[in-house]
Symmetry: C2
Subunit: 233 residues, 2 copies
């Protein structure tokens, strides 16, 4: 790829730099990493492939980035840049919308959830900003201060768990391969949680509505939605 470097001499070296390419920047590396993640998935992202794409050798990357984890953290920061709550409106609607935006950003790059988990609290500024916004909206619900952190965990856990699940499971709602699931697993047979895309949307909405509703009642805010039963498409 990237034959943008026009040959200006008859030199024998095939290195991109020797061909006169301008110096690589950290941003170039991170952007190429994001593109590679999008096109090949996390299993297709290796330092060596990334180096190939950038017309260089793997060792070069280590001048721009400490290691693979740092590369992916940088991609995470990029990914969260546009995830922000609406700036106006009631706390509950803003929180719901923030969750929806988080879902759609992460769903495109679910491997970053793992990066996030492995980072502990060593998070970049964009990531911390999103966390801060979420906590602020939860606090705005009026629940006691000492419950805010716990509730934050419930929300973040739901969001990350949901996206990780929807992204790694094959979209098909294909069902248990076992011979006679009905007999062996009666409840499962009756309530098949098939993973069709429309179902996942509905389930995400139901999940966040349930979570937000568990906050609202205690200060007399009217429930966002009925807790159960909404028209299906």
């Amino acid at each position: 790829m990237s034959r943008s470097a026009f040959k200006k001499t008859g030199r024998k070296s095939t290195s991109a730099r020797a061909k006169g390419r301008v110096a690589l920047t950290r941003e170039d590396v991170v952007a190429a990493g994001a593109r590679l993640l999008d096109s090949e998935g996390i299993d297709g992202v290796s330092m060596r492939r990334l180096a190939d794409v950038l017309d260089t050798g793997p060792a070069t990357l280590y001048w721009h980035v400490r290691d693979k984890h740092e590369l992916l953290s940088a991609v995470l920061e990029e990914t969260l840049r546009d995830v922000r709550a609406p700036s106006a409106g009631p706390w509950d609607e803003r929180l719901l919308e923030l969750l929806r935006r988080g879902r759609s950003a992460l769903r495109a790059r679910p491997a970053l959830i793992d990066v996030l988990w492995r980072s502990g609290w060593e998070l970049g500024p964009e990531t911390l900003r999103v966390v801060d916004e979420a906590i602020g909206l939860i606090a705005a619900s009026g629940i006691p201060d000492r419950d805010v952190a716990d509730v934050y965990y419930t929300f973040t856990t739901f969001l990350f768990g949901f996206v990780a699940a929807e992204a790694t499971s094959p979209g098909t709602g294909r069902f248990p391969a076992s011979k006679d699931p009905t007999r062996a697993f009666p409840h499962l047979a009756k309530h098949r949680p098939a993973a069709d895309p429309a179902g996942m949307d509905r389930r995400f909405e139901a999940g966040i509505a349930r979570l937000v509703a568990s906050l609202a009642p205690i200060r007399g805010v009217k429930a966002i939605r009925p807790r159960h039963s909404r028209a299906r498409s």
Copy 2:
């Protein structure tokens, strides 16, 4: 390891089989895989290391197991064997207890959550049994049938997300490395969700209580617990 094979001849071959070891079984391989996972973590589990532990070569393993994924699926089945709901009691208490047991089983081997997610619905019988039990208890809450699958998703997402988060994040509650988090992230500074172990226990209990409570009210069952505020240790 495994010098259980006593040398019975002076043969030169160093292979365990040549030394007279009885044939390896699939169970041996899976059990050794589980031990390796427990002692070295998921990054320490490779087919080659597993082969070493079993005194054989990597190729041998492929006679007993299709590939690495199948090996880990078998370990998952083992791990879930003892995760079952109490056989008596009110549905809500049984469900809470099932969730607690799921958490403690998976927390020891969190990498299996990923295996589960990557499996789609190609699950083994033990895994399906646990799913079936959970769905049965949710249905027993009396919520409308058409909501059962959605609620199952909320629960399972919370459980897996929680365990994945608590297991991958460094136990320390060490906080943002950034220079002045207070100024930049006021909500985060006020409500620090530090990941100390006692805090995680409390948070798990708060989370499942909140989820179960979101089911109970609609049929007039008394709330399991107050939704917020419980004595801290």
